[in-house]
Amino acid sequence: MTGRGTPLVEMRDISISFGGIKAVDHVSIDLYPGEVVGLLGHNGAGKSTLIKCLSGAYQADAGEIFINGDKATIRNPRDARAYNIETIYQTLALADNLDAASNLFLGRELITPLGMVDDARMEAETRKIMGRLNPNFRKFKEPVSALSGGQRQSVAIARAVYFNAKILIMDEPTAALGPHETQMVAELIQELKRQGLGIFLIEHDIHAVMDLCDRASVMKNGQLVGTVNVNEVTDDDILGMIILGKKPAKAA
């Protein structure tokens, strides 16, 4: 990966353990502007934990993060947002009792000149972005607990997209989506990529990875098996990496 300038994100030698279990064990990955990097691995491989170190949900026990070549200190989600890092969590991380607009703007509310939250304007903005991402979405007044899994997912996606992220982390963004909505997310990823965002995409569907990603990093038991250029390998190669934990000979 030389000759491409400075990476947008570089995570170097990241380790984190939860009481003895090494959830992430000396993993290094990077991401360039306009690139989609797939993150694969069996359940419990450490994918979510790794990207949570980038999104500020966890703090790594060891290792360093560089953003645009500069060392970054990310202690909490606020720090990550300051680096224009947006995250769609696997658990979606929505407040069930609030409506879509309140969730979309949570932590970054629009306010009136008097310093009061401007619900009407936030709802209008939410209607706008949802009109683009999921035109069938109608439930703007209900708390998100009244939404279907897919509708909740589109709220989470809208939240990540709305704030002009430069670095987007998507942890299984299509897990609850129907085929049509999944297709829409795929198109969205390609559009964001054209706009120059860097995207980490955690995904179990190898075909989606082959379609959408430029590179794929595979993890097993907290360790990085390897990173491959997707156009240089077959899906069987990647499957082999996930199951056997070995990098295919030709791509090494």
């Binding site: 947002r81 995250t87 991380a93 407040a95 009792n97 009061m116 009407a120 709802e123 209008a124």
Partner: protein, 449 residues
Amino acid sequence: MSDPASHTHPEGRRGLIQILDIDTRLLGMVGAFVVICAAFQIWTGIRALPDFSWNPFAWIGAGRFLVPQNTFNIAVQTVSVAIMAAGMVFVIVTRHIDLSVGSLMALCSATMAVFQTEFMPKTLGLGLEHPLTAPLAVLLGILVGAAVGAFQGWLIGYQRIPSFIVTLGGLLIWSRVAYFVAGGQTIGPLDGTFLMLGGTNGTLGVGLSWALAAIAALGAGWALWSSRRAKLHHGFPVKPVWAEVTLIGIVVGLIAGFTAIINSNMVPPARLKRLFDARGEVMPEGYTEAYGIPISVLLLIIVALLLTVMALRTRLGRYIFATGGNPDAAELSGINTRLLTVKIFALMGGLCGLSAAVASARLSNHSLDIGTLDELRVIAAAVIGGTALAGGFGTVYGAILGALIMQSLQSGMAMVGVDAPFQNIVVGAVLVLAVWIDIQYRKRRGIKV
């Protein structure tokens, strides 16, 4: 509308309530309150009549419960618990509990009493009834409450000790600290200006009360209209104009009705005569005067308004509800939930201080048992008022209505001669019943909690 409730109500009634967009839960509470008032009015009416007759109008007419004086008293007695219940809403919404409010209130009361009777007059040598005594005392009470609350909030938020444990410790600790601060005795009489917070000693009089009612009515009307205008501006659906006007009419009617009742509570002639004597004047023949709205009730209204605005219109409020709905999501959205916990408990503590001022001013001294069992009344008021213990839901006006319902029940039972132990049995049963009804209501509406 795929609302399951549409199958359980006759179309017409549901339609009206839905068009008016009134919170049906609030309506239920108001209904319960009306039933309680009517029941005690009739009960006291039957007892007041010289001989029994089957005439409901005579019962209601002779009732002693809804007379201006009793309405006034219940309003005054509700304030102290209601102020704390308003704060408890936010504590419970964020999935915490505060068992220390009664004890903390006693500590604030003791501190304020010592400040008024010892520190200002003796230590500083400013004498009794110094004009600064009352405002400084109230400020001190609020600060002590907020500081203790913030400390408890720090233990809960940053040290991760469950709020139940921290405030259970606080319940035991602060009441004892209050005992030592007060030197184990009742402290009084308190400063004259300070006593104005208590009720009968500080009222607005008829003219100011009506002025206040007018301001409140205009404010409510303006708030409803401007929210309609904001909706129209963004092209959102709005209620029909007649519905909006009806709603404003109901609100204005309630404000006017309450003011009229309170304003017809007359000051007893003996008391008036004493007031004139104290000023060295002679009371004119046939002179009468009404109390008007008590300052303490005004205080409660201001607290309720500020906290409601905070809940619905500020970031702090939004973060409180988000944290209650999903603490992890709030944290991941960049909300500092630990600091938020400190703020909420500091607010709760500050309200304990304010409540202590009202309560000790009403009793006109700091008594040793002030605040005892108030934590239970406060929590019960918030819960009867619809605050969900699972977190995420609750309203300030609900909690205040809850406090009012409890106080009405207790006053009513005392009036009809129900023994104190039996009163507790009834209040306890009402609490459990209220939560059960709430669960049924949410089930029917398909709200998961």
